[in-house]
């Protein structure tokens, strides 16, 4: 175990050199060639972490509602009589006279207007069941629900990204988490309230006429100045037809307003409605609340308009942002939120580093006291270990968290174990073995299995922690796991080579551990 070929020695030091050199990349400000760095976690640099959850229940109801008219038409076109047509949250129920014909239509794979076949899942969007003789219930299949959910999640992520980009925070992270959640990380953000408010609104915008006309039904809504208004359920135009929205100051009364531009279809619809309804009031409804309900004084055919509604400038800016980014398909719920102020992050770095340095010095002094020359070797290995650990973290561009720093300190404490195991074993061998070289050799050989066994157990714990831990804890698991690997390398290659140098150069003298 003490004989190293030149190639072995060369490769040990080359590996050490190439990995540890990366750790120095963290100390330079910028480099065109290698832009790798250890990232600081939100708990160290400060910032906000938000976990958002979509709720597709309302979407499922909406989607089911949209099936009603095509379904009725299909039944009529095929001369199937139906009665007791009812819609109840997530199921449609009806009684029909020709079940077989219905089944054929319902489960046709081609050009099915009400129940499309989803190729990805090889399943239909809807399912139905027979409750009694002629009564059937229609509802979304498992895959139908999944399709709705996934589309909503994808769209939500897109809208969240647009809104956050529009606010202009630095380097936001927006990721899907599981089937219903979106993870948002906003480094450096001190107060997430504005973002939370912006993400908390679906921003569904409708233009509807104020009228008593009952043809489409009406909603009773309160206007911006407290008036109770009856608003037609018929939607003239929605936020989807908006191309742009900007905050403005109205020249006449200096009030903040939001001006908007419509696409061609929107401009047509808007032009027609305003032409036909001069003198009536138009309600601008956002998320079920009236923003304003101005009089239509003249036809608006230019494809642009203005919303005024007693806004502050901030409110006008936010409304314009929401309208520009588009509506969220479902409301988002903040299910987890963690914000760390920048000064706490700085304090954490400071205390983390202080304890690292102090822990490191204590361990080094203890090892020197305990093993003298060989303590020096163990300490050299320990320093090499830390450099390699930092190097690998840099190569992986890992995120360093406060628990991650704790993991490094713990590695310092536990890393020397491998060398302690070996040195103690050699001590024992030296008692019975006359040849010093032989004693060292057997010491290394016999301790090898134990060192491996002992470290693999900790590695298993670290891997499980990485798989199940969240956020900062993952950072701890990473440093712990990498620390074990660098420990094995430095103890078994670097320290062993240094030991062999000491032993082989003193082969005729007495060597004591």
């Amino acid at each position: 175990m003490l004989n190293f070929s030149k190639i072995n020695v060369l490769s040990i030091y080359l590996i050490f050199f190439f990995i540890s050199i990366f750790s120095f990349l963290n100390f330079q400000n910028s480099n065109q060639f290698f832009e790798k760095k250890i990232n600081l976690g939100l708990d160290l640099q400060g910032g906000s972490y938000l976990l958002l959850e979509i709720n597709s229940d309302s979407l499922v109801e909406e989607k089911l509602q949209s099936k009603v008219i095509p379904l009725k038409k299909l039944l009529k076109d095929n001369n199937i009589n139906y009665s007791n047509f009812k819609i109840n949250e997530k199921t449609l129920s009806l009684t029909i006279n020709n079940k077989d014909k219905f089944e054929l239509l319902f489960n046709s794979q081609k050009n099915n207007p009400i129940n499309p076949y989803i190729d990805n899942y090889r399943a239909f969007e809807l399912e139905y069941k027979n409750t009694n003789s002629n009564k059937i219930e229609i509802f979304f299949s498992k895959f139908g629900l999944l399709t709705i959910n996934n589309a909503a999640l994808k769209q939500s992520i897109e809208i969240v990204r647009r809104r956050i980009d529009d606010v202009g925070t630095k380097e936001p992270t927006i990721l899907q988490r599981g089937e219903k959640r979106i993870l948002v990380e906003l480094p450096g953000l001190k107060d997430p309230e504005r973002i939370k408010t912006l993400l908390g609104k679906t921003a569904k915008l409708n233009f509807r006429l104020v009228s008593d006309n009952n043809e489409f039904g009406t909603d009773s809504l309160i206007s911006e100045n407290g008036e109770k208004l009856k608003v037609s359920k018929r939607i003239i135009m929605s936020g989807e037809n908006l191309i742009d929205a900007q905050p403005n100051i109205n020249n006449q009364n200096n009030e903040p307003t939001v001006s908007f531009t419509l696409d061609r279809l929107g401009a047509q619809k808007f032009g027609r409605t305003t032409t036909d309804n001069v003198g009536k009031r138009l309600a601008i409804v956002l998320d079920g609340e009236i923003v304003s309900a101005p009089n239509i004084n003249e036809p608006i055919t230019g494809g642009s308009g203005m919303i005024s509604g007693n806004f502050s400038f901030q409110e006008a800016t936010d409304l314009a942002l929401l309208l520009r980014s588009g509506a969220l398909p479902t409301p988002l719920l903040v299910v987890e939120e963690r914000t760390v102020g920048p000064d706490l992050g700085e304090d954490s770095i400071k205390s983390g580093l202080t304890s690292l340095v102090v822990g490191f010095i204590l361990v080094i002094l203890f090892m020197l006291y305990k093993y003298k020359v060989f303590g020096l070797i163990a300490n050299t290995a320990l320093i090499a270990n830390l450099l390699m650990l930092a190097g690998i973290l840099t190569i992986l561009e890992a995120t360093l968290t406060l628990p991650g720093i704790a993991g490094i300190i713990l590695t310092v404490g536990m890393a020397v174990d491998a060398n302690v195991l070996i040195f103690e074993r050699i001590k024992e061998e030296l008692k019975t073995e006359k040849s010093i070289i032989h004693a060292f050799d057997t010491g290394y050989t016999k301790a090898k299995i134990t060192v491996l066994d002992a470290n693999i157990t900790t590695l298993i714990a670290a891997i499980i922690l990485f798989a199940f831990g969240s956020g900062p804890i993952k950072g701890f698991a990473i440093t712990l796991a990498i620390g074990i690997i660098t420990t094995l390398f430095t103890a078994y290659f670097l320290a062993r080579h240094l030991t062999s140098l000491v032993v082989l150069n003193n082969r005729n003298k007495e060597v004591k551990i």
């Binding site: 987890e336 939120e337 760390v340 205390s351 090892m367 310092v412 103690e424 066994d453 199940f468």
Partner: protein, 298 residues
């Protein structure tokens, strides 16, 4: 090499361990664990301000009808930690609390940390924490079973249970908070304690093969003594690092490092006084090893 008679103390140590173990279970069962917001849901606000009284923070929040509120000093002078149990929809009350405190306390307030965990997420976090700990125990059981014989596997897993339960029991007795970092600490303790046990077991296995005439309690005693220097030195270096975190690492890492310190002490103790006597209980001898070899090579 030292020559202490550990095996003569096994019985006393086991009674001591059993008492601690069941006391811990009783405390965990009846008093329960003091879960933090990670596992119980709720809101945590850490703030820093000069010249304010803890009672004035309490009074201001009391009038807000937020349900159970806990305000305490946290680390340095002027740092406070507020915990609110209520988990409202979309956390609309967080800005309200901030505003109310800013308006009513005649001092500048720095909100250093705000955390909110909803009931669904906290339940999931608790579940994945329990799964992680259970899975690590199973993985250790399996690893030792592969590397040693089943008696060793049982011995080491009982030692691990012993460590985890007593650590949690002490947290229950002292009403210390259990949060995500404590789960990380417990898993690391599992790794560390296993590490310690493996070193002694390795030596026991080696000595079983070497000295056929010695019985298991002598073998255990010899092996513990042979590895004692290493056991102590490694514990010392690990504890040096941990005390450094405990004292200098700041308030956030204090619970974590405390759990780890407990774990290292209990883990070291259990490798000697729990894991080894169990081999004695199973009457492990060199024949146990031979039987296994026969099985592998038919």
């Amino acid at each position: 090499m030292t020559n202490y008679s550990f095996s003569s103390r096994f019985k006393q140590a086991n009674i001591f361990s059993l008492i601690l173990f069941f006391l811990s279970i009783i405390f965990i069962g009846f008093k329960g664990l003091n879960y933090g917001i990670d596992f119980k849901g709720g809101t945590l606000i850490e703030l820093r301000s000069k010249n304010i009284e803890i009672s004035s923070i309490r009074n201001i929040l009391k009038n807000m009808n937020l349900g159970d509120i806990n305000v305490k000093k946290f680390g340095k002078e002027g740092d406070y930690l507020i915990k609110v149990e209520q988990t409202g929809d979309n956390n609309k009350f967080i800005p309200k609390i901030k505003k109310k405190l800013t308006d009513n306390l005649n001092s500048e307030i720095n909100f250093r940390r705000v955390e909110n965990v909803g009931p669904k997420v906290s339940a999931e976090l608790l579940q994945s924490g329990i799964i992680a700990i259970s899975l690590s125990l199973v993985a250790m059981l399996f690893y030792i079973w592969v590397r040693f014989e089943w008696q060793f596997s049982i011995g080491s897993i009982i030692a691990l249970f012993h460590d985890v339960i007593i650590t949690l029991g002490i947290f229950s007795i002292l009403s210390l908070e259990i949060n995500l970092s404590i789960i990380a600490a417990v898993l690391t303790i599992v790794g560390y304690s296993m590490n310690d046990t493996v070193v002694i077991y390795d030596r026991i296995r080696e000595n079983l093969g070497k000295y056929h005439k010695l019985n298991i309690s002598d073998i255990a005693n010899l092996s513990i003594n042979e590895t004692l220097a290493r056991t102590i030195i490694t514990s010392v270096t690990t504890l040096l690092a941990l005390f450094s975190i405990f004292i200098l690492g700041g308030e956030i890492l204090r619970g974590f490092s405390f759990a780890m310190i407990l774990g290292v002490l209990i883990g070291t103790y259990s490798s000697i006084f729990v894991a080894s006597p169990i081999l004695q209980f199973f009457k492990v001898s060199y024949k146990t090893l031979e039987k296994e070899e026969e099985k592998i090579v038919p």
